[in-house]
């Protein structure tokens, strides 16, 4: 027994020793050429926040990717535990308020059904609800959803779940792996409804994603976003913060075996702009804001933001 453990410990040490890259204490400098000046200095990269820590912009994407790859399998169970099941009510309300699908016969052939783009919707939570609503409430069999996510693991989870829905392997449901800040495969003015639910918080450059949304939407198309936001009631806010920073990492550790990912989650919620600031960002991208521009859910824990791409009269 003891020899076994000694041997495995030795192997681990030996392995890591073998794989360790040679790192000179001073960077490489050849006196006869200018290689060193061409080297990229890490300090020059623009910084962005990853939870409460600052990381270079180039690094955030991979870090967020690691978080979501890690949580993909237990995503739904964790959401239920963290939000006490309320996230289902929010998502249902979100879809119902958007009322996807046309109950009226279309006037022209290219208007048949809505073209919905669900960004960061890897597990299909919103997409299946939209298709269900369009089919069962509005009797619209044409509306289609493209699920786009940057993370292949989340998409795989969504594909797995789509097996249980009637939309599996039909033209109404599509999965695309893409970065929402740059989607060259989606033509200009081709989307009726662009949704991003609990996703935009993790984007490296939110304004770029909003500008891209503005580009792909048809004139009159709608940008709809549900995201964690700022609680306005100080008493509720106190309870909510305590829950976020004490309970959620603990639940993450116990249920998903991953404390750090859920620590990042609550920190990213804390860093997300307030309702008014985010509304300003939507306006900056060129959208019209209906009414107040946002709807608070459960006292502002989450908020639904909407923007409409204006029609330019010729």
């Amino acid at each position: 027994m003891s020899t076994m453990s000694t041997r495995s410990a030795w192997r681990a040490l030996h392995y890591s020793a073998k794989r360790r890259a040679f790192q000179p204490t001073t960077p490489y400098r050849c006196f006869s050429c200018a290689n060193r000046t061409q080297e990229q200095k890490p300090g020059n990269d623009r910084m962005t926040h990853f939870g409460f820590t600052n990381v270079p912009e180039s690094e955030k994407e991979t870090r967020v990717g690691a978080v979501f790859s890690s949580v993909a399998a237990s995503y739904d169970r964790m959401n239920d535990l963290m939000s006490l099941g309320i996230h289902r009510l929010w998502k249902d309300h979100f879809v119902r308020s958007l009322n996807p699908g046309s109950c009226l016969p279309a006037m022209t052939a290219d208007q048949r059904g809505w073209n919905i783009l669900d960004i960061a919707g890897g597990t299909g939570d919103i997409a299946f609800r939209m298709l269900d609503h369009a089919t069962n409430v509005n009797h619209d069999m044409e509306t289609r959803v493209t699920i786009s996510d940057i993370n292949a693991d989340m998409l795989a989870e969504g594909r797995k779940r789509s097996l249980d829905t009637p939309y599996y392997n039909t033209s109404r449901l599509d999965f695309v792996e893409a970065n929402a800040e740059h989607m060259p495969h989606i033509p200009d003015a081709s989307v009726d409804l662009y949704t991003v639910v609990f996703g935009i918080r993790n984007f490296t450059d939110k304004q770029a994603a909003l500008n891209e949304a503005y580009r792909v939407l048809k004139p009159g198309g709608v940008f709809a976003c549900m995201e964690f936001s700022k609680v306005d009631n100080p008493v509720l806010d106190g309870i909510y913060k305590r829950w976020n920073f004490s309970a959620i990492p603990l639940i993450g550790q116990v249920v998903a075996g991953d404390r750090d990912s859920y620590q990042y989650l609550v920190e990213s919620i804390e860093r997300f702009p307030s309702q008014e600031e985010f509304r300003g960002m939507i306006q900056k991208a060129g959208f019209m804001i209906p009414g107040q521009g946002f709807e608070n859910l459960t006292g502002g824990i989450a908020a639904i933001h909407k923007g409409i791409k204006p029609i330019v009269k010729a």
Partner: protein, 288 residues
Amino acid sequence: MSYLARTLPKRVPNPFLAQSIRQTRALSTKTLQSTPTTRTTQHKPRTNQRHRTYHSALHARLPDHSYTNSQTAILTSALAHVPTHGFSATALTLGARDAGFLDVSVQLLPRGEFDLILFWLASRRGLLRGKVEEGGLFRRIAAEKGKDVHELSVEERVRGLLLERLRMNMEVKDVWQDALAQMSLLANIPLSLTELHALASDILTLSGDDAVDATWYTRRLAVSAIYASAEVVMTRDPTPDLVETAAFVERRFEDRKALADKITGIGQCAGFGWNTAIGLGRSWGLKI
């Protein structure tokens, strides 16, 4: 003191500062005396249209509704579909299509169908004001009664405007009950009441009512109550020119007058009783 000197009218000769100040004082007291600000006589409504009433002349009138251009475009086209589809999401979607928007663009109206109802109410209110300011409405009402426009009393004007507003509902009469039901939903009640008050206030202002005492409230309350109940009667009125509704409104105005008379009578009676009691007590030697 220096402030007074600085704001002296130019035409006052100003050889010596002290004298000019004395003159200014005299001027200001004279002005104060010539226009008493408190009213001692009973309130008599003024019927002069040009007269600016209690609200500030320095502020422009608020717009009838606060919808943006795109919202107004959708709502205006949607109103064309209301007689057939009612105040419904279908009418809104069809309106959005007519205005060149997509089906999804009805998201521009966060309150959905209720926005359509509010827009209807606000735009009709604006039309009513337009009709009055154009001048033809009161002439027509006066002609119906065989009077001159200036002879119309405030009450007659109020009644005329109220009926005119009810007649504007003619084309949506069959779907108006649905709208009333929508307006009475708990979440919609505050805005519905605000709109009703705005209508009552507009009707009274346009009729030349300039009461600034407690009757400001009771008048608006009375007009609101009569209008709201007449709307319900209107939805079940089969006559083509709303004759039954007009008769109903007539009766409610009579009721209002009777009620006002009774309240005045009760007040007078109580006053007499109180005075008699005091006089009786004093005659018995009570120190009151």
